[in-house]
Symmetry: C2
Subunit: 136 residues, 2 copies
């Protein structure tokens, strides 16, 4: 009987493959795996093997980072994706990411709007509260 769990057939891509596909350095691919953005299986010789979703996750992550999401925050969203996700899973993830981006933009807009409409602009009689940036 075989002892080791076999690697699912779709996990065929090497670090280099994923890096090339995603347009990042191989070191970044390892970094993202360490930080839970992507998941690998290991060969008998301890090498990583990824499926197609790895490059995709990385590409989404790079765009998400541009709106201020950290790798940690993005990983937290991605862990909700099942193994071999359905379209609806990606749909949900997309909604979460976009909501967050829009919320942050809205916060910026609200703060600037309040500041400008206040007339006082930057006078030091604080009626404007800077929005709570709860990271937690």
């Amino acid at each position: 009987m075989s002892i080791a769990a076999q690697i699912p057939a779709r996990f065929t891509l090497t670090v280099k493959d994923v890096a090339t596909e995603a347009g990042v350095a191989p070191s970044a691919v390892r970094f993202y795996e360490q930080h839970g953005l992507i998941t690998a299986h290991r060969t008998a010789g301890d090498q990583r093997r990824f499926d197609d979703s790895a490059a995709c996750r990385i590409k989404v992550a790079k765009v998400a980072q541009r709106v201020g999401l950290t790798v940690r925050e993005i990983a937290d969203v991605f862990v909700t994706l099942p193994d071999d996700p359905e379209p609806q899973d990606w749909q949900r993830v997309a909604a979460v990411l976009i909501d967050e981006a829009e919320a942050r933009t809205a916060a910026l807009q609200a703060y600037l709007g309040e500041m400008l409409s206040g007339g006082r602009l930057c006078e030091i009689d604080d009626r404007i509260e800077v929005p709570n940036q709860g990271r937690g």
Copy 2:
């Protein structure tokens, strides 16, 4: 005749004053001055003195950072503010910041939308190009 340029009368606030007003640590106020987000005059004894706009700039910067703008990028926008800015100057700065935030959110939305509508999701037959993230 006096040799040294006098500090404009409105520059009365110490590092601590600005830090308290902006809700950040004094070390951060010095950091932001080093990086051009805010400007100080110096007393005869070499101490920084800020005007009201310093705390305001910092508060705006903190919200702008949340949408992915770096200190450098924010400073680049703030340098367009004249000394003792008019409402219209802040209006323009606000517009630039919001435009940038919306552009980044739109890029995220576009990428996710294309990915989801493509049907293939994360299949490796790249018709989806990850949006160009030109920094600079």
